[in-house]
Every structure is written in C-alpha cells, then in structure tokens.
Subunit: 244 residues, 2 copies
DNA sequence: GTTACTCTTCGGTCCGCGCCGAAACGTCGG
DNA sequence: CCGACGTTTCGGCGCGGACCGAAGAGTAAC
C-alpha cells in the first residue's frame, strides 16, 4: 500500500466542500450536480469539479440520464470508510544510519541499569502483555493475577517486592528498539531470574558502564558468540512459560 | 457526523510528508524528529511542525527523554485508521505501469506494516479461507471456530487480541498481487508467529524502509537466497496446518 | 562554565488549489 | 431549427499552507 495513495485519499477528504458532498451522498441515493452544489452552497461549476475528482478516484459513480447526471457513492465500502473517519475523535526510512553504529549484540540484548533491554527485552515485555501476565490500561501497566502466579513460580516474591517501596511495574523506552520494555522492581527481579537460571548470561567484557550516543543506557552486555545460544534457550523457555 | 472533523482528518492525511511520517510510525515504534525528518526528506523544522500538528490532533503521542522527543502513534485505533485508508484502492488511471519494476523477492514476500504481504501472504490468506479457518461473507471476513483452534495452537491468544480494540480480522489489498491478504490483529500475530518459528525470516538488509517507485511499500524484506529456502519451509509447514 | 546536540519558533517565499463567472457543450422540448 | 436547461471547461484571482534557514530554548556531556 502506498503513501501516495494515502495522501491522495486524504486530500480528497481534506476539502470541506468535498466532504460535504460525500456526506450528502451517504444516504445511498443519487443526486445531481445542481442539487449537490446547492446543498454545499458552492457554485455549480465548483461542485462539478469536485465530483469529477471524486469520480476519477472511484469514490463516486455517475449515472447519466438525459441531461442530468446522477452521482452516487461507489459502494458500501466507501460509505463505511467515510463513516469510520467521521467517527474519529480528534482532540525508509533509509536513514537508520547512526543505528549501524550500535553493535548487533548490543541491540539484541543488554542490560539497562538493573533490568534487561534490547530486542529480547522488548519481545519479552510484549509477550507478557499479550499473554495476559501484564495488563495495559490507559497509561499504566499492572500485573495480573495470572502474572503473579507466573512470577511466583519463577521464585520471585512479588508481594515482598511490592512492599519494598520501589514501583513494581514500570516501563522504559528501549533505546534501540524504540518500544517499551519491563523495568521497575519486577523488571529487575526478572533479570536476576534470567541470569540465575542461565537463560541469559553476562558478557565477557568487564562490567564497565558504557555510555552510548543517546546517553541513556548502561550496559554490561551479552557477548556475541554466547548470545545466540543463550537467547535461543531463553526464547523457548520463555515461550513455554508464557503458554501456561 | 461532523463534516468539519472529516475534512480536518483528511487534511492531516492529505500531505505527502505527513502521510510518510504516519506510515513510518506504523511499526509501533517511537522515532525522533530528526530521524523522521530524514526519512521523509524534509527539514527538521518542517517535520517538527508536521508532528506538532499530528500531536495536536491526537494522532501521535510524544515521549520526552533527555533532549530527544520520541513520537509514536497514539494508539491502535490510529494504526487501524491508516491501515483502512491505505487499503482503499483508488482508481488512478496511470498507476499500473510500474509492475515490471517490482523486485521478484519483493513481490514474493514482504512485510506490510506489521503483517505479511506478497504472493505468499495472498496464498496463505486464501488458504485460510478455503480451509474454513476464515469465513467470507458479503463484505466482511470473520474467524471461524476452527480458525480459533488453529491460531490458539500456534500460540496466538485470539480472545486477548479481540479485546485489544484493534479489529481482529482485516484484509488488505495486496499491492503487487491485487488480491487480498490478511491484516488486522490476527495478521500481525500470524506474522509474528511465522518469524518466531523461523518459517520466514527478515532480510539481511538493515531494517530500512525503502520507498519504491510507486512510493508505496515499507519493506524489511526477505533476501534472495534465503528467501526461497525459508519460504519452502513456510509453505509445507503451513500446508500441513491447513490440512488439519 | 563551554561545547555539542536536538528540537521548536519565527520570517519569508512560493506553489497548489478552491473558488467563481463566463463561455462552451449536450440534451430535451417546442 | 431554436431556446431552455443541466453540466463541464477555462481563465484568473486569492488564500492557505508546505517548505526552508536562522535564531532561540532546552538538555547532556566534559
């Protein structure tokens, strides 16, 4: 699908007069140019031009009858489209260039302070949400009963964590993935579990804190060769857990 | 229904640059002004203005982090909206010319936002229909009981998806095949499953979005040599599933 | 503090296009 | 054929807005 087509469709709807014409046609009946022009309070010639554009785009169809030309919406799909859009409440990047500077191992999995970050972390977090262990409300994430069960079974004392004063569930915008991953007390505990069970493993590098370009992630990281093997284990084991 | 709101939404989408920005955000990730500006090949200031308008309208949300400001689509509903509009086929007379220029790998399999597209996707979708996992009514596609079983067995939580607010089953007109493929929440979930199970695999290219001549497809794509092998696996495995 | 970086705001230019009225085209009735 | 009427095409006007570069505000690292 096409950006150009999207923009074109948008520009068709963008004009107030054209929108008025389309809405007037929403009843499914056919109307003449003059009638529609009068309804939209524009000149006949202007209405004619608008309808011509809508016709070229295939949004309306025309039926000639004598010297009249009756315009109708093309089909139900267009009507549905207009209805959908009308219901909205409004209140290539070719250029990942500086991304190439991020070592793949780093993008794949790393630590962010005391929790896991990177592709693995993002997938993990989203997996926890879609599997119903975490629940997403407006702008708040909470742990579900099911999630409590999961973490308890992993040896995490959730209620203990809750009393620690630190927020249990937090999300953190992942620096490389641009999506959220799990942070907070639960994120830290989970990271510990993953390490303890050897599903992931710290990299060979000294635990130095490297400040990246974006400046916001600390990363004793997973090493290249180990990473792959460890992550496969990680994925399958976690997948199994999430399936519970 | 408000004509004014319709026109305003249209005018937001009408501009090619804004459409490009929105489409770039369709992957659900968050991007900075600079990145988006570069992707749309416009000045940072221009991109900033566009994003500001989109933000005012509530189509995108912004998250400040240090000196960066990350923009994301506001919610799934917006994504659905863009997807719906993008699925409209406008009958632009001159637009069938550049078919031969589509790279074969691209026509064969590619991603379309967050779901699979291309020949493989079209066959897959039609397979799901003929095998009774999806049901086709007048202008509506729904999942059958049998289909629920299939997706559950693939690890997709269908009922969870249904509650997410995003339409579960959508179809999207395939840009190269001119037939429908599966989109919506189910399409996205299926795509994820295919990747997780390594039945398909992202291309070796950096995950850049390449704009084709027709200007219309985002494509972290399957590479040539790998593609074939991976797709064969894909097909047989899927065929087996569909036979169930 | 300084330097470097990102992002927004502000002038100013320029193109697109929505608008109208006049004229041309087509169809119907007399 | 001729006038009446519905519609489309054309020329020209004027506004809105997309665009950029420069300047200003805010943040991060040294």
């Amino acid at each position: 699908m096409s950006v150009a087509a999207l923009a074109e469709l948008g520009s068709l709807l963008a004009d107030q007069s054209r929108s008025t014409l389309l809405v007037a046609l929403m009843d499914g009946r056919a109307w003449t140019v003059t009638e529609l022009a009068h309804h939209a309070t524009i000149a006949r010639s202007t209405a004619s031009e608008h309808l011509s554009r809508l016709h070229d785009a295939g949004l309306v169809v025309v039926e000639a009858q004598g010297r009249h030309r009756y315009f109708r919406l093309a089909d139900n799909y267009v009507a549905q489209l207009v209805e959908t859009l009308g219901g909205v409440q409004l209140s290539t990047p070719g250029s990942r260039r500086h991304f190439s500077k991020v070592p793949p191992a780093l993008a794949h999995a790393r630590s962010c302070y005391d929790h896991l970050a990177g592709q693995v972390a993002v997938e993990l977090y989203e997996g926890l949400v879609t599997s119903g262990h975490l629940m997403l409300s407006v702008d708040l994430v909470t742990i579900t009963v099911q999630g409590r069960g999961l973490f308890q079974s992993l040896g995490v004392d959730v209620s203990m964590l809750e009393r620690s004063g630190r927020p249990l569930v937090r999300t953190c915008l992942d620096w490389t993935e641009r999506r959220h991953h799990l942070a907070g007390g639960l994120g830290a505990a989970l990271f510990q579990v993953l390490i303890d069970r050897r599903w992931i493993r710290r990299g060979r590098q000294p635990r130095s804190i490297v400040i990246t370009e974006a400046g916001n992630c600390a990363l004793p990281r997973l090493t290249g060769s180990d990473r792959t093997r460890e992550d496969v284990q990680n994925n399958s084991a976690l997948a199994e857990i999430l399936r519970t």
